[in-house]
Every structure is written in C-alpha cells, then in structure tokens.
Amino acid sequence: MPTTAPSPKLSTAFEQGGAPLSDATASDSALRRFLFGLPGVDAVGLEARAASLGTRSIKTTAKAYAIDLAISMIDLTTLEGADTPGKVRALAAKAVNPDPTDRTTPRTAAVCVYPDMASTAAAALAGSGVKVASVATAFPAGRAALDVKLADVRDAVAAGADEIDMVIDRGAFLSGRFLKVYEEILAVKAECGPARLKVIFETGELSTYDNIRRASWIGMLAGADFIKTSTGKVATNATPANTLLMLEAVRDFRAATGVQIGVKPAGGIRTTKDAVKFLVLVNETAGEDWLDPHWFRFGASSLLNDLLMQRQKLSTGRYSGPDYVTVD
C-alpha cells in the first residue's frame, strides 16, 4: 500500500487557472507558492515503503535479468583530481567491454568524467554506442558565477559530451531563492544544445524530504532530462528513500504533463543487492517504462565490479573474487 501517493491537493495545484505549470514559474512568489503547495512528504511512510520494497527476493532468471539491466544502466564514473587520460581510456574500454571473458555482458550506458576529460572519453568511445557524460557547472560545489558555469557546459559539449550533469545552486535553494535556481537550470539547458541534461540536487545537503520534492519539481519544470540525487562527494548520497521520492516526482510529472523524465541515483551504490533494490523501486513506483537505460541510470564505479562478480557466479556456479575483475 503506497503511503506517499500523490494527494488530491497535487492535482488541484495543476488545475488552478488552466495552464498551471507555466504560471508556476511566472515569478519568484508564484514558484514559491507552487512549491509550498506540493503535498508534504510522509517521511516515516516513505522510509517504510522504501525499506519494504528492499526486502523483495530476486533470484535466478529474474536476478540474471536485473544484473544485465543494471550493468546497461551504469554511468561508469571517475571524478577524481587524480584522473589521467590513461585512466579515462581504461575506464572507457571497460564500459565497452565490461567482462572480457564473457562477450555477452552488456555495455554500460555512459562514462562520466570531468569536462577536461570529455574529449579523451569521446575519442575512446567513438562508435561504441556508450555515451559520454560530463559533469559541469563548477561541479561538485557549484559555487561559481553563472558565466563560468555556462562556459564549463559549453566546453564539455564542444568536447563531445552527450550528457551534461549539472549541480543546482544549493545556497540559493536553501535561502529560498527558488527562481534563481530555476533560471540557472534554464540557462544551462539552453547551453546544452542536443546534449541531455541531468540535474543534481545533492540531496544530502537539502536537509528534508520536502526540499527534495521541491527541488525535483524545480528541475522538472526547468526542462531537465534527468533528475539526479547527488554528486557522490558528500556523506549522504543516494538512498532508497530519496530515490523513491524522486521516482514519485517523475511519475507525477508525467501524469500531469505527459513528459517523461529520467532518474539517476548516484554515490554509495556498491553492491548488486543495492542495485536490485533500486530496480524494484523503479518498477514499483515509476513503472516499467523507466526500466530502460534511457530513463534510469546508476552513477557508480565499484558497483560494476560487484555486478560482474555476481554475473560470473550465475554463469559458473562458483563465487568469483576481486582477482577476476579490473582494479580501477
């Protein structure tokens, strides 16, 4: 029994005045009214629902399907100060061919790097179908002038990025300047051109579930192609509860506008068990339409190795070990 289903109040928020969603962003106060008109999150119910969905037992053929699906949804990520072109090329090779001993292993969805590594990644991935995702907008803090952020985005797109992962201005969001956050996303979206835009909220810094719901709606209203939990650089990253909340947001947004938006939990998802729990959340909340790499991604690096080890266990019957996957 979903405890956080959209309340009637949400639909009335849309119905007020005919074209409600364009009205919602007409001014700072209208946006605030809209965001505060969203139904409050039942935190206890949300966490209980996320926990109960995490107890599903996924075995044998369903598990094999889940593992392959999860691999194909990974944005294989390296966002370190110590990244080198060699490391990015190695990661790209792994994305294209995750398990060299088993060519039936699917490719990952994308490789996620800093903008200065985007050209290296694009060259290494050319023709493979694996996308290049680049973080931008002064990732991870986002503390820079708008011009600088836009230049960062331009740079990444010019270098061949197919997807841009931007961070929102949490300082503006937490001090209530919602329209500033909204307009910044709009500006970045305009700069992206053909590249898909993922908007990172850094849920670990937003304090409350209500804030995460509000941030999700700002992102969706501003034209994000994906909403993403976190940068992976703070203590609390993707959790089943905050991902469930964002999945509800994209489900409600499609119901209200007909526009489908993707979700990407990132950071802290390290095991196959965790990944399968997220897939259960997707299926039970947003629905089957989102069980596709185009609409759901995992931002992860070590997750892939665990998925590969589990895959080897399923195909050979023997437990595999870290000696049989690459050290990234």
């Binding site: 019957g317 023997r318 437990y319 070990g321 870290p322």
Partner: protein, 313 residues
C-alpha cells in the same frame, strides 16, 4: 511477593540463562543468514545447545571478511602477530573453566582430562606465537647462485585459507589448525567440527577480545560438506586445509579446488576412512602446518662488479 522470595534466596529454583551460540564473522557475532540452527548433543546424546547451521551465503560473507582483513594482518609485523597470538593464550587462560566444561561435554572426557586438553590448547597458541618471527628464517634465506647476485627467498602468506577443523578434537585440534594458518599472516575461514562446534564458537569470543583484528579468523558451524563445497570452489579463496574431511569429501573438494589452483593440504590418512581423526594432537606439531600455507618470493639483486679478489660479498 514470590519475586522477592526468590531474590532472598528461598528454596525456589533459579531459571537457567542459556547461551545463544553464534557465528564469528568479520569480528562480529551474527546468526546464520539462513536463520537455521541444529541441535548439538554431548557424547551420550543429551542436548547441549543449539548451534547456528550456516549456509553457503554465510561462507561467502566470511570470505569477504577474510579478504578485507588480509591486507592489514599480512602487513602487520611478525613481532606484532606473535604478541597477538600470545594474547589469545592469555585470554584463553582466563576462561579456562568454561572451556574445560565445554570440551568435557563435547568430547566425553573427564574433567581432569578436559583440563589437560585446554592447557595443551593454550600452550599451542604460545608455541605458534613464538614462531611468527622465526618461520621466515626457516622457510627462506639466501640462495647460492652462479652470478653476481644476492638471491634471497622469503616466505609470504598464501592469502585467504579455508580450514576444515578436525571432527573429534574440538579445541586442541581446532587451535592446532587455526594458529599455524594465521601465525604466518594468512586469514582463515574455519568450519568447526559438525558434532562438537561449541568450543569453536566460544573460541570466537576469545579471539574477539584478544586484539585479533576482525575477519582474520571467521568461524562457521553447520554441515561440513555444505559449507566446504562453495569454499573449495570459491575463486577468492587461496588455499584449503582438508583436515576435517573424510576421504570421499576430500576428493570432491580437491577437484573443486583445482579450478583456481588453490593450495590444498590433504588430510593425512591415519584412519580407515581417510580423515585425520586420530591424529595425535598432543604431539609437538613441528612446522609442517606453518609452511603449508606460504608462498616463496625470490628476489635477485645485483651485487655490482666483482672486485679483483673475485668477490664483493
């Protein structure tokens, strides 16, 4: 009122407090992931306690814990490992009474004989504590080579070792197979004797309080064959000690172990059924079990030009 009477020590009998025996994995005391237990009886068939009946997933978790602990434990100085092993002996000494009781019940020994077994087990820890910083000199050294090189061999731990504890000697035999494995820097997953697992599970409590880092020794109880099969086939286990396996099981496990070239220590066939059940655990153990789980690293180092005298050694 009846409560107060019992506190005051009236004739009312006190309710016993039974111990829940648990596994020892990664420095923690979990129940089996499967939630199963089995009845453990004494040598005459009377019920002693319920022990966890581990599943292959418990075995898998134990391997993860052992692998995680390997870096720190193998990297610790031999001197430090010796101190830790000696500390185990100290802790065991302090809980002697409990172990005398458990060994007597498990093996059907008299109290005095059980006490002698526990004493021997404590001394076995001390014996292996002394070996940690000496085994390198025995198993390694400088090799004479025909060339201007120093050629040095040094033993290194094999890695994660699965140990099938002896089936009958529930404490002395157990200590005699665990201590040599960890003395050299390996980490161990121990499958306790299926019939007499209680001293092994209690030994976990001793290890947890004696500076042995979590995950260095992991103790599982249950059906030996059920746990040994996934461990023998596990790609992240580097060696297996088949002491507690009968001839048939040992053969099966050896075949499974060949897949990733595990180092295998076969049971010494002293019984009709091929297991080492009547191995004399009181005898001086020698270095055989220490050297069974070592790899030799050899280093060639140029000596530089030989002088006019023909040697710069």
């Amino acid at each position: 009122m009846s409560d107060r009477e019992s506190i005051n020590g009236s004739a009312e009998r006190r309710l016993g407090v039974f111990k829940t025996y648990k596994l020892y994995v990664g420095g923690k005391f979990p129940r089996s992931e499967s939630g199963r237990v089995y009845e453990v009886t004494d040598s005459k068939g009377a019920w002693l306690a319920n022990a966890p009946k581990s599943s292959r997933k418990d075995a898998r978790d134990a391997v993860v814990a052992a692998r995680k602990a390997f870096g720190g434990w193998s990297g610790a100085t031999a001197y430090n490992r010796g101190q830790v092993l000696y500390r185990v002996a100290e802790m065991l000494e302090g809980r002697k009474e409990q172990f005398v009781r458990e060994v007597a019940a498990s093996e059907g020994l008299s109290k005095s004989k059980a006490a002698a077994v526990v004493d021997a087990a404590i001394d076995r820890w001390v014996w292996y504590a002394g070996w940690t910083d000496k085994i390198g000199q025995i198993a390694g050294g400088a090799n004479p080579v025909a060339g201007p090189f120093f050629n040095l061999s040094t033993p290194e731990p094999t890695g994660v070792v699965a140990v099938l504890a002896p089936r009958k000697s529930s404490l002395l035999g157990l200590v005699s197979v665990i201590a040599p494995v960890i003395a050299t820097g390996n980490t161990a997953i121990v499958i306790a004797s299926s019939d007499a697992p209680l001293p092994a599970l209690s030994l976990g409590e001793v290890l947890a309080t004696s500076d042995v880092p979590g995950g260095v020794v992991n103790i599982l109880s249950g059906v030996t064959a059920e746990l040994a099969a996934p461990l023998a086939a596990h790609q992240d286990v580097n060696a297996i000690d088949l002491t507690g396996a009968d001839a048939e099981l040992a053969k099966e496990l050896e075949i499974a172990a060949a897949d990733n070239l595990k180092r295998v220590r076969r049971p010494q066939p002293v019984d009709a059924d091929g297991a080492a059940d009547s191995e004399d655990w009181t005898a001086s153990p020698g270095t055989d079990r220490l050297t069974a789980f070592l790899e030799t690293k050899t280093v060639w180092h140029p000596t530089g030009a030989l002088g006019a005298a023909g040697s710069s050694y």
